[in-house]
């Protein structure tokens, strides 16, 4: 990318006075100086590794021998022979559809609830917000305990109520629902942005709707939702982008539930149970750092990059919040 520093082009034909030119040069130098930490960072931690990833994706490289060009071999390996790719992609789709939408709906519900609470609002808000702060590893460990089929309190309560007690993190058809519950526990961020959006809805619109005899459902449909829909959109898009990075909770839950936690000892292959928790980022780890197939790891990395940037471009296109300038 080429960024031209300094102010706008001098109007054609007119001679630019020397004093003005040197002022412009100073302004350009100043801008460059202020941006310099990030320009170095952008070049070195974004552009360089991205180009390098692209290069590795068409080479065979194990970290020891010199990389050799192999064309699309890694790509065909990932799509045809890497046993987890399609399952991981299906899992990701499941998480996007179920986890993201439940998080948004639940976050909006909790946000609406907190705006209606009159007694102890501060206390409730703190309660609802706290789990969001729990470090992901700690939160996952906590849920691995709460949902463990042997001594976990959740299954005991379900048993007392006469309900079936699933195996959660140890059962392939319940592991993703268990991760979804964990994600819904940490809803604090969405609650806060929805709360702010709901309080910004003009009160007059509610009053007008009420005069027209609108019930609660109609008020939500015709007043609340149209006002907060940009924020809902924002929550969905960032939710999808976050899902592309979904890593820690899935791998830690798998490790703890499978019992294979050796630190530097025994190697844990992600996806436990039966591949039900594989996600794309875990494949970069598996291929690169467990199988030392850097080339194929870079193929997954590029797929991740493409999906993430496609959704990021939705955020960029929306002029309202993200790209707004002061003038």
């Amino acid at each position: 990318m080429a960024i031209a520093f300094g102010s706008r082009k001098a109007s054609a034909g007119l001679p630019v006075p020397a004093a003005l030119r040197s002022k412009r040069r100073r302004a350009a130098a100043r801008t460059l100086a202020f941006l310099s930490p990030w320009l170095i960072g952008f070049g070195f931690f974004f552009v360089y590794p991205l180009v390098s990833t692209l290069y590795f994706s068409v080479t065979h490289y194990d970290g020891f021998t010199t990389p050799t060009f192999t064309g699309l071999k890694n790509w065909s390996y990932v799509f045809n022979d890497y046993p987890f790719f399609w399952q991981g992609l299906r899992n990701t789709l499941w998480l996007v559809v179920v986890m993201v939408s439940l998080r948004v709906v639940f976050g909006l519900g909790i946000g609406m609830l907190i705006t209606k609470v009159k007694t102890g609002a501060g206390l409730f808000r703190t309660f609802f917000y706290l789990p969001y702060l729990a470090p992901p590893v700690a939160a996952t460990m906590a849920f691995a305990f709460l949902l463990n089929p042997g001594t976990g309190p959740v299954n005991q309560l379900l048993g007392d109520l006469g309900l079936p007690a699933p195996g959660w993190f140890t059962d392939p058809s319940w592991s993703k629902p268990a991760l979804t519950m964990l994600a819904m526990w940490g809803i604090g961020d969405l609650m806060v942005i929805f709360m702010a959006a709901l309080l910004d809805v003009p009160k007059e619109q509610y009053e007008a709707a009420e005069l027209d005899g609108a019930g609660p459902v109609q008020r939500f449909r015709y007043v609340t939702f149209p006002n907060i829909s940009p924020i809902v959109m924002f929550a969905v898009v960032t939710g999808v982008i976050q899902t592309m990075q979904y890593y820690t909770q899935a791998i830690v839950a798998g490790k703890v539930a499978s019992g294979v936690i050796g630190g530097s000892g025994q190697q844990f292959e992600p996806g436990y149970p039966q591949g039900s928790t594989w996600t794309l980022p875990q494949m970069v780890y598996n291929l690169g750092f467990q199988r030392f197939d850097y080339g194929s790891a870079c193929v997954i990395a590029l797929i991740l990059f493409a999906i993430s940037m496609a959704f990021t471009s939705i955020l960029l296109r929306r002029k309202s919040g993200f790209m707004a300038n002061e003038d």
Partner: protein
Amino acid sequence: MTLSTTLTKPAAAPGSSKSASEAARTARRRAALHWVAVHSTAIAAALFFVLPFVFVFLTSVMTDQQALTKNLWPTTWEWGNYVKVWQTPGFLTWWRNTLLYAGLGTLLTVVSSLPVAYALAKFRFRGRNLALMAVIAMMMLPPQVTVIPMYLFWAKQMHLSGTLWPLIIPMAFGDAFSIFLLRQFLLTIPKEYIEAAKIDGCGDLRTLLRVVLPMARPAIAAVALFQFFYAWNDYFGPQIYASENPGAWTLSYGLESFKGAHHTNWNLTMAATLLVMAPVIILFFFAQKAFIEGVTLTGVKG
């Protein structure tokens, strides 16, 4: 700050008919019912959010024998579990490493990101929108996309694998999320302040340090908190760069090895889990306002 959704018209003037007072009574009853419905829902929701902490805590103070049973309430309170966790080999080192990563990383992030955010918010230059887009793209980039070349660089060329430096050093070159959050805040500072400082003869750096910095304190606090939490919570980074050397592990990375490697029972694991959560939650209570402000700033609030 509460939305009033119930119709609570003031009671009719004295001396009016019986039906008017009846209507007022119905309205009051409806308001009371609404209050009960809202608050019982809130209590039910609060249970969902709080009970996990409660069960984790109760298990953390059980004896080894109790933790194997289905008892939910500890029969004897084994506070010594927390001492045992502290004495676990490595636990103190993990604390030290986490504080180094989070503390130094946060400091470097703030120092390097503020001037960039200032330039993006207040300077006019060609390519500014493009630069902002690049910041946002970087912010949304999954860390796994660039990890292979970065790992090869740090491990094979710099010989820094087995340490946390590959995670700390990049923070001296601006963090995209911090730049974005600071920029969003700096946009709200009226340019008159900056122009006034210029007229008083302040250079750009002086203006930033003397005028902008004091005004941006809440945003800087939010950025510092987010970055501290990010480093505290980071699992992927330490897994890639530090896993080979337990002496460089952080709490978030070391915690998962607790069950199995050090202790077989849930009680000590849950005590360790709470000890990893505690600093973050305590920090939150001290800086609640800055934190919430930060969350709202990054949401779409122009």
